[in-house]
């Protein structure tokens, strides 16, 4: 038994915001209340800290199987734990692609053996994510997937999207889409705008994303399926999602910390600023923050995309897209959104907990008998992020050396403390 004492419990599901103790018994929460005592329990003093339901990351890349030089399930889940995440959804663009139950089982079993947090894989929508035949979605569901996506690229055609949606609707799975129009994307490496023109880097117009979001919303209207827009980055896309929600469609979306923090004006000839979707205009960034605040955006997801230095330490236009994100996500949310007065703390917690849970169709709460998955964080601790000290195998982040206010202090998965640091930042 573990008794978490003196913390400020923030539970969006019950709208609780109070000084309460939480008693964990095995893998479940046993009791919540003021001044609990349990003589046999180990005590976790959470004075000055916030106790929240376990964070869920809807979008990450762990590179195993296939690219273990960049990340493994072991290192990736350790980084996730340090970021306060208790469950993560790994995208299927591994080698081989997670498009069948044996790959799914391999990931789930590996995570059970060496992983720090819960692993909820996303399966490919089509075989090899090639956009042709449907993947073995039902078999993968039995093996543990919680959604499908051809992430890294969009589900290739409207026709295939219709089939995937119909099929997943019957299976009760959300369809997650990485939205871009290949003909507009066309070899671009950053968002098209004044910065791309100045740097002489090939630009990708924002319509590359929103055109595809528009298509997907139309398909959701046709099929009634659950559609989730991955790493949404533009105002145009947000408008499609807002209107879909108003029409009662089951359409959700996520935004990454780098997209609510940085803009295309921050891009330099440094491949740690190269990601897909690319950093957007300040108008888009401000719209995303507005969407996070008003409920149009459902979740914050990291799109943690580790790349080995050998692949990133190259010319900008030759580098792969992607940045790491687990260990900076909460710190960015607190520093950029909460402390700047753009989001109440409760709303930020929602975006990491019940927001992503709803996308997956599950609950997330601090209540008796709920799974003992908790994220304990400081909203105020000031610290400097050092990529070299990251638990991830890769260090491709634009936030190296950035000073943050707020950090995860402990991550508890199924009653087990998988990450803990003291107030001086020592893990």
């Amino acid at each position: 038994m573990l008794l978490i004492k003196n913390g400020r419990v923030l539970d969006p599901a019950s709208k609780t915001d109070a000084k309460l103790d939480v008693l964990l018994d095995g893998e479940r929460i046993s009791k919540i209340g003021a001044n609990l005592s349990a003589p046999d329990a180990e005590i976790f003093d959470a004075a000055g800290l916030i106790v929240a339901p376990g964070f869920i990351d809807l979008h990450c890349h762990l590179r195993e199987p296939g690219q273990e030089m960049s990340e493994t399930i072991e290192t990736g889940t350790r980084a996730a734990a340090r970021g306060g995440f208790t469950a993560i959804c790994c995208m299927p663009n591994t080698q081989p692609v997670n498009d069948n139950a044996s790959v799914t089982r391999g990931i789930v079993e590996r995570a059970a053996a060496v992983g720090s947090v819960r692993m909820w894989p996303i399966g490919a929508a089509s075989v090899g994510s090639k956009g042709e035949a449907l993947a073995e979605i039902a078999a993968m569901k039995d093996a543990g997937i919680v959604g499908v996506s051809d992430d890294g690229k969009p589900i290739a055609t409207a026709r295939l999207m219709r089939q995937v949606m119909d099929y997943c609707n019957a299976l009760g799975l959300p369809v997650i889409d990485h939205c871009e129009d290949a003909s507009l994307f066309a070899g671009g490496v950053m968002r098209e705008g004044p910065a791309s023109v100045r740097l002489g880097l090939k630009g990708i117009p924002s319509q590359s994303e929103s055109i595809c979001v528009g298509r997907d919303v139309e398909m959701a209207l046709l099929t009634g399926a659950r559609l989730h827009i991955a790493h949404m980055s533009t105002l145009g896309s947000l408008e499609y999602v807002r209107s879909a929600k108003q029409r009662g469609l089951r359409v959700t979306c996520e935004v990454t910390p780098h997209h609510f923090t940085l803009t295309d004006e921050d891009v330099r000839y440094d491949t740690n600023y190269k990601m897909n979707p690319p950093l957007a205009s300040s108008e888009d960034r401000d719209a995303l923050i507005q969407g996070l605040a008003d409920g149009s955006v459902d979740a914050i997801a990291t799109d943690h995309a580790p790349h080995h230095p050998a692949s990133k330490d190259v010319e900008f236009d030759r580098a792969p897209f992607g940045v790491t994100g687990f260990e900076t996500a909460l710190a960015l949310g607190l520093s950029e959104l909460v402390h700047k007065g753009k989001l109440p703390l409760m709303r930020l917690v929602e975006l990491f907990t019940i927001g992503p849970a709803r996308v997956l169709g599950i609950e997330r709460k601090i209540a008796a008998d709920a799974p003992a998955d908790l994220t304990i964080f400081s909203a105020d601790h000031t610290w400097t992020f050092r990529a070299s000290e990251s638990a991830s195998k890769s260090h491709n982040t634009p936030f190296d050396g950035r000073v943050f206010r707020g950090t995860p202090m402990a991550t508890i998965v199924a009653g087990r403390v998988v990450f803990r640091q003291n107030k001086t930042g020592q893990a």
């Binding site: 098209e192 004044p194 023109v197 740097l199 002489g200 880097l201 090939k202 000839y269 330490d313």
Partner: protein
């Protein structure tokens, strides 16, 4: 006192004073090109690495000649013959070059920002000889020298740049340089290659749709090459380009009578420029080539020779 340069990566970060200094330094080297004996000992014992990761003839020859006329030795790398074809990274290639102890590296690369990437990782001065669609700073300098010689100033001129601006590193360097001196830039070309964002590059940059209007009152016309190798979009038919944007004698008459015509080369006669204009009295094309040598000698002297920047020099402005 002028801030000493470590590298020359682009015109954009330079101050007006730094540019004026380099142009003034180029003056004696202009006269030097007419000398019967074209060899100085200034950089004797120095080595310049000339690393071209993208095909080039004139810029490579110009830098090689500039180095040798200053007395420096050169070592040359061309993409075709290099280990890049065998999969070596840019970083490994330039580190290998650096280990042979050159005193500076002149670099051309098809990726925008590649010289900056290298400059951050090597100890020696890096000279950008053209990077992707970003900048071609020595072209900007030699164009400025040519314009200043002909017009007596770089201030208050009406400069029209014609062609594929979006994919032109020459245009970017020219725009940054000339606007720093208060000249006004008019951009004109096929609209998909002249996006509105170009107007945010610098103050006093405007776009004009019709070539005839763009040429009205121009003091300087810079005609760009149609960069077929850099265009990913469907290309415009040559006939359409000629019809809308070729600099013809008739169109040239719309500019000021003493307007000059520049072209960074290589020129495609009959496409972006008419034969008669290319060879006409207003054309500065060959002067540009000679000035290229002078500017590059001045640059090499400044970056590798350790010339004192605060030494007295005749003010030209």
């Amino acid at each position: 006192m002028v801030q000493r340069l470590q590298h020359l990566l682009g015109i954009e970060p330079l101050t007006r004073e730094q540019i004026t200094f380099l142009l003034d330094q180029a003056k004696p080297f202009q006269e030097f090109q007419r000398h019967p004996l074209k060899k100085l000992a200034t950089l004797r014992g120095k080595t310049v690495a000339i690393a071209f990761f993208e095909a080039s003839t004139r810029t490579r020859i110009s830098f090689t000649t500039a180095s040798s006329r200053l007395g420096a030795d050169t070592m040359s790398l061309q993409a075709e013959s290099s280990s890049l074809k065998k999969g070596e990274s840019l970083l490994d290639t330039v580190r290998t070059l650096e280990a042979m102890r050159p005193d500076g590296i002149v670099m051309r690369h098809s990726s925008s920002g590649a010289p900056e990437f290298v400059a951050q990782r090597l100890e020696i001065p890096v000279m950008n000889a053209g990077d992707g669609t970003h900048e071609h700073p020595t072209q900007g300098l030699l164009d400025a020298l040519t314009i200043r010689d002909r017009k007596g100033t770089l201030e208050g001129l009406n400069v029209t740049i014609l062609g594929d601006i979006l994919h032109s590193r020459v245009a970017r360097s020219n725009i940054h340089l000339l606007t720093k001196f208060g000249s006004r830039i008019t951009l004109c070309g096929p609209p998909m290659w002249v996006p509105r964002e170009l107007e945010t590059l610098a103050p006093n940059v405007r776009r004009v749709v019709r070539t005839e209007e763009a040429l009205q009152g121009a003091d300087v016309i810079i005609v760009l090459r149609v960069q077929t190798e850099r265009i990913h979009e469907p290309a415009l038919a040559a006939e359409e380009y000629v019809l809308g944007y070729q600099l013809t004698p008739e169109r040239l008459r719309l500019a000021k009578p003493d307007a000059i015509v520049l072209h960074p080369g290589p020129m495609i006669r009959g496409l972006e420029i008419d034969q008669v204009v290319a060879d006409g009295p207003q054309s500065c094309v060959l002067e540009q080539v000679t000035n290229g040598l002078a500017v590059r000698m001045a640059l090499l002297y400044h970056l590798i020779g350790g010339a004192a920047v605060d030494a007295p020099h005749p003010a030209k402005e």
